[in-house]
């Protein structure tokens, strides 16, 4: 499968220019006040207002995009920026677009234009921002689901929470389409979870896989070399296998995905910021949800339950995980109507650290 893209042409040596300088593309007020901002507030959902030490002010209007954008969508966004903005934009960590303008007067028309073109304005402060997500069936070679589809379904459901700021704090959701988890940790994370050991296509192993490398990749030493039908192949100890899929990328004949066995799990309480509590990993809430395109209704239902339980119960500034820390996991499971099972008990390395070594108990 090795090909080279340069066959016919005379080679052009690359200019190793690296990370482009952003200053040529930066709003003049941002350039001018670079490193000298004083404070900010949010006049309404989707709008930031930053004031510089110089007294300069800048308004930012944030709108949701689908991340995977056709050139028409991008050009439309540019049109809006040219007509109602000042031609300077940025994309955020979460693929939202931001328009910077020097006058508040420009904000309403900008919002109107974005809304009319179908781009929701919001995602700031204590809202649900765009879900950060991954490639899925659209492009990846190992996906268990289609991240973009899951995200579209969920963002439709949560659209009101994107355009309003009514959550206790920001909600940062992620999805990942395989257990490698290119998506990040999230207040809520919707991730593929395999449920069966890989099915091995023994005919292909010898040709495709570097067997010692594959054996070394397994976190629980469940793989051993074996002769199958007279050919060198691999065998999996299904008692040991935790169905993690780590063997699949280096050895595609170890098919970890199955139309029915690839499931979806939902996790909560991941946090990156250091505000108040330290950064945290997300924790398992539900596993074994069906991978049900095109709209993943079962996933949507669980996310909705979690989101609205948090909205109802969280105190201002509490992130989702901090809300649970206060009210306790028993009440979280009660209020979301979800089940607590043996699978919630950690069994991975260092499991003991996640146990309750105290009488701090929530009744």
């Amino acid at each position: 499968m090795s090909q080279t893209a340069t066959e016919a042409k005379k080679p052009r040596p690359p200019i190793e220019s690296g990370v482009p300088d952003p200053f040529p593309f930066m709003h003049p007020l941002m350039k001018k006040n670079y490193g000298n901002w004083e404070w900010h507030d949010r006049p309404r959902p989707g709008v930031l207002h930053h004031v510089a030490k110089s007294g300069d002010e800048i308004w930012t209007v944030r709108a949701g995009t689908q991340r995977q954008m056709d050139v028409y969508t991008i050009r439309k966004l540019c049109d809006i920026g040219d007509q109602h903005g000042e031609g300077f934009v940025r994309f955020t960590t979460r693929s939202n677009i931001e328009y910077m303008v020097s006058k508040f007067e420009k904000v309403p028309a900008l919002i109107k234009a974005l809304n009319e073109a179908g781009f929701p304005v919001g995602g700031t402060g204590n809202s649900v921002s765009m879900i950060s997500h991954t490639q899925g069936w659209l492009h990846c070679d190992i996906p268990g689901t289609d991240a973009s589809g899951v995200v579209k379904s969920l963002m439709d459901m949560m659209h009101e929470e994107f355009i309003k700021e009514e959550m206790p704090n920001r909600v940062r959701i992620t999805t990942s389409c395989c257990q490698i988890n290119c998506g990040g940790q999230g207040d809520i994370a919707i991730n593929v979870q395999y449920t069966k050991p890989p099915k091995i296509n023994h005919d292909l192993v010898a040709n495709v896989c570097e067997r010692p490398a594959v054996v070394a990749r397994c976190p629980v030493a469940a793989i051993r070399p074996a002769m199958v039908n007279g050919k060198p192949s691999l065998e999996v100890d299904e008692k040991k296998c935790v169905c993690c899929g780590a063997c699949y990328p280096p050895c595609p004949p170890m098919q970890i995905n199955g139309a029915d066995s690839t499931k979806i799990a939902i996790w909560v309480g991941g946090k990156h910021s250091n505000a108040r509590s330290k950064p945290a990993f997300h924790k398992l809430v539900v596993a074994n949800l069906p991978n049900n395109p095109p709209r993943w209704p079962e996933v949507e239902e669980v996310v909705r339950k979690i989101l609205y339980a948090y909205k109802a119960g969280g105190k201002d500034f509490e992130r989702l995980g901090e809300w649970i820390d206060r009210i306790g996991w028993p009440r979280f499971f009660e209020e979301t109507g979800l089940a607590f099972t043996k699978h919630h008990l950690d069994t991975w390395t260092g499991a003991r650290h996640n146990m309750n070594m105290s009488t701090h108990i929530h009744f």
């Binding site: 499968m1 893209a5 052009r12 040596p13 200019i15 690296g18 990370v19 482009p20 300088d21 200053f23 040529p24 593309f25 930066m26 709003h27 941002m30 350039k31 959902p45 930053h50 800048i58 930012t60 995009t65 995977q68 056709d70 050139v71 028409y72 540019c78 920026g81 994309f91 955020t92 693929s95 809304n115 009319e116 073109a117 179908g118 950060s132 069936w137 659209l138 492009h139 990846c140 289609d146 579209k152 379904s153 439709d156 659209h159 009101e160 309003k164 998506g183 990040g184 940790q185 070394a216 993690c244 910021s273 250091n274 505000a275 108040r276 950064p279 395109p293 095109p294 500034f317 390395t349």
Partner: protein, 452 residues
């Protein structure tokens, strides 16, 4: 609320006006369009629909990519039906580089031949993601010519993902982008594309020049990015403060996160204004009681007492009272090493290796680069194949790692000192002597990356 009406509509209603052709019903794929009943369902609802976008490309009259996008949609529908993916990898690169392209060959090319090759160019964006509309339009034009018309802003590592080039077009697209001043990002066992938050450009919390740090560090090691030869991937991420808007702690091997060493700034009049607005009880319950180290106390006259020695720079009170509180002047960054996601060992977070590095002068940034080099070289020389640096540290232990990179132990590296007595300590006294000597000479001698 202006936005509320909007939510009733579905995104497909907004399509008009976005297509270059003024209407999408009759693209090149026209009569041969694959039926996509499942994907069609992703066009309803208020959120922008990537399917609607893909269809616009499919339906673009006369565009070279229209047939490709028709087959792409066909293959995607096929995936939705069977709940399985149909791409496989391979090797595609541009002249002079070993990485930066994610090659995709279809496993169902017989059914969907036009999208049999659908490679992605990972392209590094301007640091901090700043664009002019003009720049974006240039990129669109370029990608209409050499690619599929499908671009993601951005991938999770920060690249602009130009998705959907044929093998033949990869080099062309790269050449054009490269001429525009853009370069490929990372893929494979290499230095990866980096991210930095908006920071200095528009944020009062920022503690160092994220753009400078991002560009100087990454551009120092471009060879490691373009010619993959590391044991495994290595990622830098730059956040201007502990809010960590680019998720560096979890998702970077080397996280540079801004902070400050001196006292925070307090405008007591603004504090009083805040308390007057929100009430005492609210302020106590939401600011005072939420401080992780009880460093705050509300005085009876509604001014704030801050114990800056106890404050751990978590940002909470500054985030809440943006007018009243701000970072100090002695700014710089903490460096955490070893973050990654799940593969093989489960998720790891970065742990503090440099509690504070001043980032004010050019010399400071040189020190940052020097330290980055030290760690990268350590990684190149010591990590096992397919081992991230966090795994290496876990394998050899933090003391050994620190020794290897020439950093002295510091109590800020730990949540707390060891609780296990199982360690051989016969050289404890000599180690303690070293500490006292360091303390003595602290102000005189400054190592290049000593935890200052």
């Amino acid at each position: 609320m202006a936005n509320s009406d909007f939510s009733a509509k579905s995104w497909a209603d907004f399509v008009i006006g976005m297509s270059a052709d003024g209407g999408g019903a009759t693209g090149e794929g026209g009569t041969n369009r694959h039926a996509t009943p499942m994907l069609d369902e992703l066009e309803s609802g208020p959120w922008p629909s990537f399917i609607t976008g893909l269809k616009r490309l499919r339906d673009s009259k006369g565009k070279q990519y229209a047939p490709m996008m028709n087959d792409l949609l066909g293959q995607l529908e096929h995936s939705y039906e069977n709940r399985l993916g149909y791409w496989k990898g391979g090797t595609v690169s541009v002249f002079g580089y070993g990485g930066g392209v994610i090659p995709r060959f279809s496993e169902v090319a017989d059914k969907f031949p036009a999208s049999k090759e659908f490679h992605t160019l990972r392209v590094q964006p301007p640091a901090g993601y700043h664009y002019t509309t003009d720049l974006l339009r240039q990129m669109c034009d370029l990608w209409e010519e050499h690619g599929s018309g499908l671009i993601a802003f951005h991938g999770q590592s920060g690249d602009i993902m130009f998705q959907g080039a044929t093998t033949e077009n990869v080099q062309k697209a790269f050449d054009a982008l490269n001429e525009m001043g853009f370069d490929l990002g990372g893929a494979g066992p290499a230095l990866r594309t980096s991210m930095s938050c908006v920071g200095h450009a528009r944020c009062e919390m920022s503690n160092y020049d994220e753009i400078k740090a991002h560009r100087e560090v990454i551009n120092e090691f471009l060879d490691e990015m373009h010619r993959p030869a590391l044991p495994y991937k290595f990622k830098f991420k730059f956040s201007g403060c502990p809010n960590d808007c680019v998720n560096a702690i979890h998702r970077a091997d080397f996280a540079v996160i801004g902070t400050w060493r001196d006292d925070m700034k307090v405008d007591q009049e603004e504090v009083k204004a805040y308390v007057a607005r929100q009430g005492r009880k609210y302020t106590i319950d939401h600011v005072i009681a939420m401080c992780p180290t009880r460093a705050l106390s509300l005085n009876d006259d509604n001014t704030l007492e801050v114990d800056n020695k106890a404050c751990v720079r978590c940002m909470h009170c500054l985030n809440v009272m943006t007018k009243a509180l701000s970072p100090g002047d002695d700014k710089g960054a903490s460096i955490l090493i070893g973050g990654k996601r799940s593969l093989k060992v489960g998720d790891l977070m970065g742990t503090v290796v440099i509690p504070f590095m001043s980032l004010k002068t050019d010399e400071d940034y040189d020190k940052l680069k020097a330290f980055a080099r030290t760690v990268l070289e350590f990684f190149a020389d010591n990590a096992l194949e397919h081992e991230r640096v966090g795994e290496t540290i876990d394998r050899i232990g933090l003391p050994t790692f620190l020794e290897a990179i020439g950093v002295d132990p510091d109590p800020n590296m730990v949540r707390h000192p060891r609780t296990s007595c199982y360690v051989r300590t016969d050289d404890f006294t000599e180690e303690a002597e070293k500490y006292f000597e360091r303390k003595l000479h602290k102000d005189k001698v400054k190592g290049p990356v000593a935890a200052e």
